[in-house]
Symmetry: D2
Subunit: 366 residues, 4 copies
């Protein structure tokens, strides 16, 4: 029981919008991260069906709209945020549609899941995108998208929307025209910068964002196959980070993107980092064990790894590769001096699997 | 009224933790920042009285405790955070007391309000602190504080606790001894680095944090007086930023600190930035107009300027200077490519004052 | 006639190793660069014949030797230096020979002119080299070369030997074994880093030197052809710089290397820079006009462009491309704050050709 | 005896300006630096007398002239260069004289030996200079000097003239007026930036050169005395480097400057670096042992330490401090990846003194 003079003191503090640290220290400064972001998975069967139904029902009208299905981590109180810092969505464009031009201070990347004739025009620079292509959208750059094919174009969006909002740094502007004028050679950046170590000699390096607007899947796949011949990470197997070849840094200030190839039968060791990640299964079947819970995945699924949670990956097939794409907020942590990582030291580097993820049950526990 | 097939679609989405962007775009991506952090002021009359009462009632026991009164911005839902990213507190140490050693991943600075014989030991480096001194506490550095005088030691703490928690990057550890061993010459960093442009020639520059543990008020005051003879900012008058002289960068990765001298009678012009700040009135009387609301202040008061709010400062005295200390999260915004600033273009650079701040009334409006 | 007291003063100065600036200012500080390095060309007919004869006569014995024919710019007083800062040589290795392991503080690059089965092992990292391949040799890295084929291996060496000597920074050490042990996968760096924008995700970036040991001709040629489709420099046509993809900087601190494709019929505009360059004609026939003198070139030739000399390139063929490889000391000038460049403003950007280079006559003029 | 076919080969090479590396390797790539710059000393008795006589005889006429006595290292073949990279001179200005405005690409610093009422105006920024003050002159900045006092103003000039010429990067321009218009507050940079860690908050950092035009002796002396209380180098005793507080880097790209206080009776340990230095004795009496030769010095003397020569300093007085100022080309070596240093491991870190320097005898040896 609290004594009367303490009670009066705390009441007076409360009235003055003051909170004593000594009554809150363990919650304000716990001994290690206790993220509200929880491990989670969205199944492609649901994602694709809901996206297709949206494509049938919801028209893309002028007004900055995107037919994007935002993934809302159940730990984040109803916000459409995949992790505390990362927005992830599945975007669906019907054949012939245009997602009109706008720009925003949020930093964005896209990874193509499907589609033929899809294009993205960023600040007058138009690129065609195919399955597996990775494209970037630097902040405050005008961009519009479209599908020139008959079928739908589908991709995963990754943005730093939650971080941008948290930092009260959000700006958004609608374009005056739906479709920007194309002012450069189509796909020109791939021709100009597609071999990152060979730079046009007369140009100053691009310091802020990668000069390469899209990283083609053919190059990514070749890099994965080449790398597999010489090296791999015990924690992530054959893993490649997309970088700005003019600086060696991640493609965005607030986000980086990886592609990982898990070779047949691979089961990686567990480690954890101070960062959060959203993974998309591009190819294959397997599982990721996150903080002791096994999340089984197959092509198209999207799942979340929160900060400081041990995780390890399994390719369930003995004969086929699995390919994972991911976005990660690591550059934020590194820039602010907050990054840490740690390998699991016990049990040969493997977690004990305490349960297999079951969405309903997991939520009930919370 | 929503049509049934839409209703079903949105229900199915909700069950799958998916939120359609087209129903949320204006809240997820508004056209400019709409901070939850609100302009606010805590009066020294209240702060000092509550701190004194805490000093009488609450003992500092072993357990990582600090007698710190956290300022809780009324816009932030009850969290003890001054802005979305910044923790600010008034800390009170009775004569002869020791705040025991601990360390944390949060980045911290302190600004001395009062006290004699106060000291801070950071990673074995002990400095004595007097009114006006500014001290830094890099992340994961052990630190304990104490007062060797008879009277209380009072200072303002500035930490990136809210940001650190938001990023799920919090680590905290209690020391095994209350008081660290002092392993360097007391006040040695002032002797060694106190003239920032003259570096010990045989040492590599300190890259991560300032090698100068404390910035003495005598030097700060001299710099303000010197600067006043040659230059001033139209928005901030005679303003100085504490920097790491080995890099020219702010003293912390996530926070910078300023001291401003408003000369007698000065009324600055309005501007706004994408950053948030917590101000402490070190000396003088005046007012700051924030987003059209006038906040009158006097010595000891602490007030908040949110992101993207126009603000201008007034020294109410025609004969005395006013001195403001502040912490600002600007380095975060700069590092992540999100900083913007803008001068008020209309009305000669001055806002129209729509009201004078009255805490009760302001809260009632919310 | 000099007055006696002046004469005595200058004599006394001379005896004390003092020189009055006022008698030397125009030579010590002329209004613009007056290089001792002169424009020059070495013909492949001579180079290849002398190299072949050396291959027949001179054996590679243990002792750090290389069968390298150093190009001695006639302006540099007999030193085997192509420019004041750059060493260039043609190196010849007979089939089956080994150039034994040594290391030096000089920074080196190589460009393959011919040969099959040639290899270079740098710090245990072995790469096979073919015509057009570019290889790097960071300072103080052990390196040995060999030819596993029957025919000779021929390449151009580029080193910063003159600069290294000028700065009194030379170190050299002979290996204890002729041939280093190969400690990594052969050609592994091409597999690992050969697509510069796709980095192994778990590795820290290589900051000092490019992680890519060799830049294969196939990639270089593809980059040239791609670039030609979108862009070109008015001064250098389709020009590519080899960079460290982990930093975007040149492959050496003191040297950069370019490959230029002059498209059929191209005649570039004239410009000049504060830097010196050594060019090798990899393919084609044409001319470079340097400070008003035309130097005609054909495959294999090597020529020099001194600092601050206007120069422009001509591809003499209307149907075939010409390919130039070059080394340049630009990174030195940039790092030290001394780089300048200037386009020729008159005559549509073209120099008046005052003469055609004739080695004998040019030397006679000097 | 050389065989005839070799003789013919080498003759043919010579005619074609080709030199075989295998006949020159030991001179082109010796195992360690063999500088032409030799250790040397110029005595103040001579320097001051010759400067005074020049002041009487030689008038400062319009034409870019400076009354500067260049120190010509006897090892450098008659060039007025103190080391291979550094120009050093004693400059003498009579009372009331003006050294007219010019600018050059060479980078310059000055250290005041004597004078009252001396000033330097650099790009419109005028500073008054007293004994011990250190001033900087960034490249291509207009500068004129003058003495407003009755007596002479004397200082030591340090420039990168030899390096600038070697790199063929020299540019020089005469002003149209002898005396520049003063466009800023006199001595303003000292007021604005004189406490390096306290930066005007609204200004972007000065990246290229120090914003501080002059480093006053009073601050330097205070820093030396402060530093002496906490730390010292075993090789250089109490040594301070002048830096740009906005970057932590040396004040010039090609040169740094130090002030060292040798405390009474100090005898430092020997080490050597890949760099060259020119020392001026500001106060005191002592000796420096360079590569085994003892150079005794007293106030005003100037001496040279070449690259890779072991050196150690002795303060001959048991009661008085000695103060040494120096310029060093270290930033060049660091920027180009060529810096090394090494402590003498034998004999307790002290060289054996093989001889005492005697100018006549030393020259006779060469």
């Amino acid at each position: 029981m609290i004594e009367p003079e303490f009670e009066r003191l705390y009441e007076d503090m409360g009235r003055n919008h003051i909170q004593p640290l000594w009554r809150a220290e363990s919650s304000v400064m716990p001994s290690e991260p206790a993220p509200k972001t929880i491990p989670w998975i969205w199944k492609w069967s649901q994602l694709s069906s809901l996206a297709r139904r949206s494509g049938e029902l919801v028209t893309l009208s002028r007004g900055g709209d995107r037919r994007a299905l935002g993934l809302a981590n159940p730990g984040l109180g109803g916000f459409p945020y995949a992790t505390a810092t990362l927005w992830a969505a599945v975007q669906w464009l019907n054949g012939g549609e245009v997602a009109p031009a706008h720009r925003h201070s949020a930093q964005a990347v896209r990874f193509m899941i499907d589609g033929e004739g899809a294009y993205s025009t960023v600040q007058g620079d138009k690129v065609y995108l195919e399955r597996g292509d990775f494209a970037i959208n630097p902040p405050w750059h005008w961009h519009d998208h479209g599908s020139e094919g008959d079928g739908p174009a589908i991709w995963m969006d990754g943005l730093d929307v939650p971080l941008n909002n948290y930092l009260d740094a959000v700006f958004f502007e609608q374009g005056t025209k739906d479709v920007q004028e194309v002012t450069r050679v189509v796909d020109g950046s791939v021709l100009k910068y597609g071999l990152g170590q060979l730079r046009p000699a007369w140009e100053a390096p691009c310091q802020e964002y990668s000069p390469l607007c899209t990283y083609k899947w053919t190059a990514t796949e070749q890099a994965l196959n080449n790398l597999a011949k010489v090296s791999a990470s015990p924690f992530d197997d054959v893993a490649i980070e997309f970088t700005n070849p003019h600086t060696g840094r991640p493609v965005m200030n607030t986000m980086t993107a990886w592609v990982q190839m898990l070779r047949p039968g691979i089961h990686t060791k567990a480690h954890r980092q101070v960062n959060s990640a959203v993974y998309h299964v591009f190819e294959g079947r397997g599982a990721t064990i996150i903080a002791g819970v096994r999340f089984d995945w197959e092509q198209g699924d999207i799942f979340v790894i929160p900060s400081w949670a041990y995780h390890e990956h399994v390719n369930a097939s003995k004969s086929e590769r699995a390919i994972l794409f991911s976005i990660q907020d690591t550059p934020v942590l590194v820039a602010l001096g907050k990054y840490r990582e740690e390998a699991l030291a016990t049990n040969g580097g493997h977690q004990e699997t305490k349960e297999v993820f079951d969405a309903e049950r997991t939520l009930a526990h919370r």
